[in-house]
């Protein structure tokens, strides 16, 4: 087993190292997902009920394969989702993730998306809602190799802070060696809109109900493209939002 990382390691810059240390010895090697050429996969990653919840995945998408991952991170103490994806010719990676944190939770999503061959596409959308003194972080690296022309990648990161002590970190990172690519990224951190809150109040919603509804709108769009059974991810997210706004 490797040594426990420290905050000097870029990928653990915002981590709860003490919490990580408690499970480090027992941490399994990253889960491996190989998606064969032209195959389509959808996965829904629900939070476990553990207070420390770490999931690490290494994924390879062969030519023309596609993967759509839906993620909900709500661990009560420390949650980390770590994904390393390699995209071959024309592969497509879609990642829709919500981070909902209360108390003093530290939640993070760390992704590396490697466009190693031409024509691959990747889209990552991360929405965070943070209350109390919770911290939510997204560190996302998109690496485009010299031969990976016509790569198309998007990262969209938005965070909503509900209390003064809450923290959001967003660090989209691009490393591009090809010259004909599209790589877009955007990150915002904000608060709930006062006009929207008042409009909801004027229609009869109490402050907690108004907040929960607006936040559901902020998060809810993530699950719109789930194909078939959503395995309860929307309901779990709604439940977690109620806890943040209570």
């Amino acid at each position: 087993m490797n040594a426990l990382p420290s905050r000097k390691d870029e990928a653990f810059r915002y981590s709860d190292i003490a919490a990580l240390g408690e499970i480090w010895g027992a941490l399994a090697t990253p889960e491996s997902m190989q998606i064969a050429a032209q195959q389509k996969v959808q996965q829904i990653w629900l939070p476990s009920d553990k207070e420390i919840d770490v999931r690490r995945v290494e994924m390879t998408l062969e030519a023309g394969a596609s993967a759509h991952i839906f993620v909900l991170a709500t661990a009560s103490r420390y949650g980390r989702i770590e994904v390393d994806v390699t995209l071959h010719d024309g592969a497509d990676f879609q990642f829709d993730a919500a981070i909902i944190g209360v108390g003093d939770a530290t939640l993070e999503i760390v992704t590396t998306v490697r466009h190693v061959e031409p024509n691959a596409t990747s889209r990552q959308t991360v929405r965070s809602v943070l209350g109390d003194t919770a911290t939510g972080s997204y560190l996302g690296k998109v690496a485009v190799s010299r031969d990976a022309q016509h790569s198309d990648s998007v990262q969209s990161v938005k965070a909503m802070l509900l209390d003064r002590g809450a923290t959001a970190n967003a660090k989209p990172e691009l490393e591009i060696f090809a010259d004909d690519v599209k790589c877009a990224h955007g990150a915002t951190v904000g608060e709930l809109d006062a006009d929207q809150l008042y409009y909801a109040a004027a229609r009869g919603l109490d402050p907690a109900g108004a907040k929960a509804l607006l936040l559901e709108g902020f998060i809810g769009g993530l699950w719109d493209s789930v194909d078939g059974d959503d395995q309860g991810i929307a309901a779990l997210a709604r439940h977690a939002l109620k806890a943040v706004t209570a």
Partner: protein, 251 residues
């Protein structure tokens, strides 16, 4: 009926320490429609927001009795549950939240606070469709996010649909007629009449122009100037204002 649903006494209010409402008195009995007219900057919208409890609008003096209760003792959502409806001059967009969900949760929050049972999804949709039809609005629009992509006229119609769904005792409509074409104006006027013309309901209609008053015949017309009611009269006062301008009539 001679019960006063709204009784405003010597009201003073400020925004950012600037005095906007300066000793306003107004009584609206049950079953009546009152119009408030006045030039820009008279305090019309401020009055609406003060009554609706919008943050940033500070009451510095006077009192408002709403249906026997102290209005200012209630939070904005409690005022709604008590039967006050505020129609917005600029309805707010809420991306990601459908109109159906927004209104169902709002209405059920009001009902719960009055000790009434929630409406089921089916019951609510039936109600929403009926009120949309009354206002000539395609009920499919209620599946869209709140006001997102709505034209000015569609937003105002949607406000009236909301009023129909909430079924208030008192509606304060802040320039509901601004930005409407003639057809939308007629539809909104007819909507106000069909929803709010009842012995136990009242309307405070805030407007710049006499146009809407052709469709919604007011019982009383008040002229607001520099934060006070400076003249009150019957419906003919609106015509006089239209003819002669505020400067003449308010003087």
């Amino acid at each position: 009926m001679s019960v006063n649903v709204l009784k405003i006494s010597n009201l003073h209010a400020t925004i950012a320490d600037k005095s906007i409402i300066n000793g306003l008195d107004l009584v609206v009995p049950s079953g009546e429609v009152h119009a408030i007219m006045g030039p820009n900057g008279a305090g019309k919208s401020t009055l609406a927001y003060v009554l609706g409890g919008r943050p940033g609008y500070d009451v510095t003096g006077g009192s408002v009795d709403f249906d026997g209760q102290d209005l200012f003792a209630m939070e904005p959502h409690e005022r709604a549950a008590a039967g006050l409806f505020l129609g917005f001059q600029y309805p707010v967009e809420i991306p990601g939240v459908s109109y159906l969900q927004f209104l169902r949760e709002s209405l059920n929050a009001q009902r719960r606070s009055r000790g009434e049972a929630d409406l089921s999804g089916a019951e609510f949709i039936r109600l929403a469709k009926a009120k949309a039809a009354l206002l000539g609005m395609d009920a499919e629009m209620l599946k869209r996010p709140v006001n997102v992509g709505f034209s000015g006229g569609e937003k105002k119609r949607a406000e009236m649909v909301q009023m129909g769904i909430m079924d208030p005792k008192l509606a304060i409509l802040d320039e509901t007629d601004s930005g409407l074409d003639i057809d939308a104006l007629k539809a909104v006027g007819a909507g106000i009449n069909s929803i709010m013309r009842a012995p136990d309901k009242s309307v405070l209609l805030i407007t710049h122009y006499q146009r809407l008053l052709d469709y919604v015949k007011p019982d009383r017309v008040h002229v607001l100037s520099a934060g006070k009611i400076v003249r009150s009269g019957g419906p003919e006062l609106a015509h006089e204002l239209e003819r002669e301008g505020y400067a003449e009539v308010a003087a």
